[in-house]
Symmetry: C2
Subunit: 441 residues, 2 copies
Amino acid sequence: MVVVERRKPIKVKEAIERVMNFAINGGKDFISIEQANGHFLGEDLVADHDVPLFNRSPYDGFTFKSTDTENVSSENPVLLQVIGEIGAGSVFTETVKNCQAVRIMTGAQIPAGCDAVVMLERTQEINQDGKTFIQLKQSFKSGDNISYKGEDTKKGTVLAEKGTFITPGVIALLATFGYKQVPVSKKPKVGVIATGSELLQIDEPLQPGKIRNSNAYMICAQIERAGGLPIYLGQFNDNLETCFTQVQEALDKVDFLITTGGVSVGDYDYLPAIYEKLKADVLFNKVGMRPGSVTTIAEKDGKLMFGLSGNPSACYVGFELFTRPVIRTFLHCKQPFLKSETALLGVDFPKPNPFDRFVRGHLTFKDGKLLATPVGLDKSSSVSSLAMTNVLIVLPAGSRGYEEGMEVKAILLEDQYGTSYQSFLSKDNSKPGRKEHHHEQ
Amino acid sequence: MVVVERRKPIKVKEAIERVMNFAINGGKDFISIEQANGHFLGEDLVADHDVPLFNRSPYDGFTFKSTDTENVSSENPVLLQVIGEIGAGSVFTETVKNCQAVRIMTGAQIPAGCDAVVMLERTQEINQDGKTFIQLKQSFKSGDNISYKGEDTKKGTVLAEKGTFITPGVIALLATFGYKQVPVSKKPKVGVIATGSELLQIDEPLQPGKIRNSNAYMICAQIERAGGLPIYLGQFNDNLETCFTQVQEALDKVDFLITTGGVSVGDYDYLPAIYEKLKADVLFNKVGMRPGSVTTIAEKDGKLMFGLSGNPSACYVGFELFTRPVIRTFLHCKQPFLKSETALLGVDFPKPNPFDRFVRGHLTFKDGKLLATPVGLDKSSSVSSLAMTNVLIVLPAGSRGYEEGMEVKAILLEDQYGTSYQSFLSKDNSKPGRKEHHHEQ
């Protein structure tokens, strides 16, 4: 009788909870603002001054007292004497008096005494007795065409929270507040070890029975996209003792360790033995999901070891569900999970499944709605579908298939804003999708 | 009389067309696969072999001839003699005969003579007379549990086109096809010069009347996001002759040149004079849009100079509308424009405008629909709104404002798939949005 270990699958939701119990926050680094795009804020970004810092002119024009323009119209124009000019960045030190005006450039500070600006195009310049005047033909209220101190941002406002993904817009704010060095979340070092005696190195010629190692490179790119620092530690050799030493040494160098392959119940699947020998705590070794049911996650002294499947699609999905939120938590993201949004299923998906299915799909938009369409071959071993994948379509376990146009959840893989665990796999994922114009088959 | 140059605004669509006339494709580089994530494919990625390369087993189990299981059931089981085993990566050289089976690991090649696989869990091992047998209690059809040669991808398939953004999924394919070195599109060198006598260096303390230079850092990050290589060339000084020399020297070093500020009609706006002195061809110097109407784009011997506004929001918008598609074209992207999708407006926007408005907004999803909501202060000088900006909400020129719930176009700033020019600002952008439950005010 073949002795096969019977593993009891747990629900995806519970698996994620078990992993997140060991998710920790990492530290903080400082890097130059030129390098900061794409990192994560290591501190809240707080406005340390008002923006604008002073009342300023949004236009090239003239500034003056609005009271000088009471009852002014094209029939009843007023002349104001031009007593100077203010370039952007300079300050006018005199106080402007009644019936005076000052030429002012875009962005320049409004001088004392003035409370309105007229655009250059709306004025006429008149020279009389060696003096320069402007003629105004309309009346102005106090504050007209003035950008007020603090109207954009008040001092003390939290403009972006710790853990925010740094975009060009965030960079603009960092520069505004003088961050030549930017506090960023330290990226976790994530080790990657590939297993499988069938794996060829990327530059080896093909051989019968073998395939090139694609998982390691894919996972390294997924780690990068998630915000981590991938450290590829190479391939396992075929000896259990050597593998054990490799894992033990790797654990000392990294914040988390990912292995690809070797978690199944086959004779060459060393990971279960290694976890045992390490006295690691196996959080689970079977999840009620397709692909990736063999995903095994263990922890040793609080350090997580992600035993992902050796099948490319299963490996990919396992990473996004279990490893990504741990990386984002390390980076202090308040919403470490990927957004999962309601979308219409783009095609029929007739295959029913006893396990929740995470189908590689491509998200598009149609008439303002999200449309998620499976791509390529839906097998855990498939790789070509991954090129176009930007969502995982969640098809909950059930006895029936799904029809085109049904509402499903789509996990957005390229999203940077994230969501909390509560909304990631919210209850409505477990009920079958509702079709907009439903007909029984 | 003040002499103010009267500029004639052109439509955004026409401005984009004039710029795109000078957009060119760049060259190709080779980089290691470890560095390739986030680059753009420099060649079509074509499958140079079938995937799988051979018929293989998707499970750990046994392989045999399906004809041996005809009429087999739990009442009528069959015994097959186990004559060997195939680890992943090894090849079984004998031909399997009737009533024989071979132990096979996940991913291993199906040996000659076999055409079905049974999962390990579904078998019983029986030892008799020193020989090992498995007992099967069900019948199999030819092909059961076999992953066939080429079922994932056929040799010759174009898996990703030249110009595709390289994601982790694309990396998996590059590794599968042995790309240790990856052909990537050469990134354009985009020079950035900041102008404005009001600008402080990022690490200078604040001074009355001055602001820190935030545009240069923001634009460098936008260049990175678009796929270009930013080269920050510093700030202009106040002397026209020196500025002219700076621009002339910069042009020799870069593929495109961006300046921020200095394109308005003010006394300190040097760019128009520099374009004239360079004998550059000014494509336009006024666009019917808010913010960024002063955006000026010129070309000298086919090299584009983007004169963006000095106002942060205007600068940001000008880049995304005009510079990004030029960068993406250089990278060989077939769809160099950002996706612009129908979304529901998240709040009322009562301000009517004679110019098309590109409002900084944040995109969320609600019940499977796109929802675009303006963020922060809607002024061209505002900077705080940029932190949360991930869409530009297009509000076409017109005499009335917009209401919450109306359909608008939203340009997705973090999109990597893009669109063609035809669909970027398609005709329906120029008609006012339709509200789902409309009521006249």
